[in-house]
């Protein structure tokens, strides 16, 4: 154990002495959160929508028809009576619920205020905003077409409510994304580079010729990064909370536990990369192209996965951050419990095991 502590101390020295490493570790999370916090672009396609129709008449049927023939939305569920909308959202697929009030067509006919409510899952604020705007647009155009037919002028006010994120903060989406990116960068890239460095400098040979066991060497190399990654995760959560007002609605313990799992996953990926690369340069390039870009582009961080071509959607399933982002969004913004994220958790645990097994295999081959 004493040997191990000595090893970890040495590893910390390497990190603290390298100014570039320190900058990546502590400057990057802040810069990234601020930059991504203000980048917003989105487009809609095939968004799952539920309809609660309390009046079930020709007007609501016509609107429903128009909404779902637009190509933007898919009818996911239809209810003739009030339902627990929040529960619908928590299941995760449904992004919007359209609620028609009672006697919709009748009120419209009589010139009274007819009620239609648009509820959107705004944990992804961007999408929610677009969803509501598109739907309102469709409803207005329906009313206009009715007006042209010579009906009574109508007073219809779509009432929208942004579930989970009432003020539509885009940054809500970017806190989980940044977290995934930073943890990936720190854990996977930095570990793979630091292990590759020992190989490149030849010090790995000396370590392997010492009484230290290979497992101790690897654990000693990753231990500091586990600590630093957890500090980073907490920094991002605090920064999100105090600077951008992003809440942590769910359990903080669960949130940190999931972060730790993701860190372990990223570390095992980093170790795997280091077993296949012979130099720091190579480790860096593999990390960059195999981790950073996919994390940015394919994890649903910047571009919604549902808008991607099928092949990229499939590809996104093998991206660890994709699962992590879903989990973090659910816990932080929707406040859901473990019951709603166990599938994603299981996927991440499975990926971690896979990379550990692959690394061990590679390591053995190298020794043989």
């Amino acid at each position: 154990m004493k040997r191990f502590i000595g090893f970890v101390l040495k590893e910390f020295r390497h990190i603290l002495r390298d100014r570039r490493t320190m900058l990546i570790l502590f400057g990057l999370p802040v810069a990234q959160l601020i930059i991504f916090g203000y980048v917003v672009t989105n487009e809609l396609r095939d968004i799952s929508v539920a309809v609660v129709d309390l009046s079930r008449d020709e007007a609501t049927a016509a609107i429903t028809d128009k909404v779902f023939s637009s190509g933007y939305f898919i009818l996911d569920a239809w209810y003739p009576a009030t339902v627990d909308v929040e529960a619908l959202f928590r299941q995760g697929d449904i992004k919007q619920v359209i609620v028609f009030g009672e006697d919709f067509a009748g009120r419209l006919q009589r010139g009274e205020t007819a009620d239609v409510q648009l509820l959107a899952d705004a944990s992804d604020a961007n999408t929610a905003n677009l969803v509501v705007n598109y739907t309102s647009g469709i409803i207005y155009s329906y009313l206009e077409s009715r007006g042209a037919q010579g009906s009574m002028p109508t007073a219809l006010v779509p009432l929208s409510h942004m579930e989970f994120n009432p003020s539509l903060m885009g940054v809500f989406m970017f806190v989980p994304g940044t977290m995934a990116l930073i943890l990936m960068l720190v854990s996977a890239m930095m570990t793979s580079i630091s292990i590759a460095r020992e190989k490149e400098l030849g010090t790995m040979e000396t370590l392997l010729a010492s009484p230290l066991k290979p497992l101790q060497i690897i654990l000693g190399k990753v231990a500091p990064y586990v600590a630093l990654s957890i500090i980073n995760a907490i920094t991002i959560i605090l920064l999100g909370y105090f600077v951008f007002g992003v809440p942590v609605k769910g359990s903080v313990v669960l949130l940190l536990a999931e972060c730790t799992l993701f860190i372990m996953l990223a570390l095992s990926l980093g170790i795997f990369i280091s077993t296949i690369s012979t130099s720091q340069q190579m480790a860096m390039f593999i990390s960059m192209f195999a981790l950073m870009l996919p994390t940015l582009l394919l994890s649903g961080f910047i571009f919604p996965i549902e808008n991607m071509p099928a092949i990229l959607q499939w590809l996104s399933y093998v991206m660890p951050p994709r699962w992590f982002i879903v989990v973090i969004k659910n816990i932080m913004i929707k406040g859901t419990g473990f019951a709603y994220v166990w599938k994603e958790t299981l996927v991440m645990a499975g990926m971690m095991t896979l990379f550990i097994v692959l690394s061990l295999k590679n390591f053995k081959i190298r020794l043989a």
Binding site: R3, G202, E205, S210
Partner: protein
């Protein structure tokens, strides 16, 4: 020498190492006695590094028996690792750590206690006349000093054997001579020295040498014996004669 002689600290019998179809070590047989300076000579790619890595437990032999300090390297590499020191071609010091930090780190992974480390560090810095540089980063030291420090660290835990893989690469003749003084010093304390090199003049400094050509041992004996046997004036000539003999075989490949 009798088989299983207590004085043999390294016993290698029929060691074969293959990488795919390439045979890096072709049926090596040799023994090294305790306290000996044993030179492992050969051109680049002759299989020296492969053999030394196997002896240190860094690589597994394809077949054959390898005993180091009485333990089988193939089956119990951990036992072997406790009784050896290893210095690789690239010196293996951490450039971004200071001299003392490097010493403390390496001593620590061999399980030395803090008091012992302090005592030996002071003695080491004094012997190498490096006291003024104790808190300097390794990156600021000249190559010769790094090399001496790397060697001193390889024997810091007082191993039974130290393996040196081309320790004098890239340094000037004067520094090389000084380095060999350190090696003699270690040998006089009873540490067996196993050294690979491709400098033939260094072969003269060894008690016995083993010359490898294309993965095989072509000659084994004291420098005097080999020179007499080959009718050569110096080790360089011995090596050239042996290597020339091997050329037709390489060209067939």
């Amino acid at each position: 020498m009798m088989p299983g002689d207590k004085r043999d600290i390294i016993v290698v019998e029929d060691l074969v190492k293959r990488f795919g179809s390439f045979v890096a070590n072709d049926h090596l047989n040799f023994r090294v006695s305790r306290g000996e300076i044993f030179g492992f000579l050969g051109a680049n790619g002759a299989g020296k590094t492969t053999a030394i890595r196997i002896l240190c437990g860094l690589s597994k032999p394809t077949s054959g028996k390898v005993l180091v300090a009485g333990q089988d390297v193939g089956t119990r590499p951990e036992k072997v690792k406790r009784s050896i020191g290893y210095m690789s071609q690239r010196f293996s010091l951490y450039e971004d750590l200071t001299v003392t930090e490097n010493i403390r780190f390496y001593a620590g992974i061999y399980g030395l206690g803090p008091a012992l480390i302090r005592e030996r560090t002071a003695a080491l810095l004094h012997r190498l006349e490096l006291e003024h540089a104790a808190d300097k980063l390794i990156s600021s030291l000249p190559l010769g000093w790094k090399q001496k420090l790397a060697f001193s660290l390889a024997i810091f835990h007082e191993p039974a054997i130290v393996f040196l893989d081309e320790p004098t690469g890239g340094v000037d003749p004067v520094t090389r001579r000084q380095f060999w003084d350190l090696i003699y010093d270690a040998a006089s304390k009873g540490i067996t020295v196993f050294v690979t090199t491709h400098y033939m003049d260094e072969a003269e400094y060894c008690d016995r040498v083993c010359i490898m050509v294309d993965g095989r041992i072509e000659a084994l004996g004291s420098p005097e014996e080999l020179k007499a046997r080959m009718g050569a004036a110096d080790m360089d000539e011995v090596f050239v004669k042996l290597a020339r003999k091997a050329i037709p075989r390489t060209e067939q490949v």
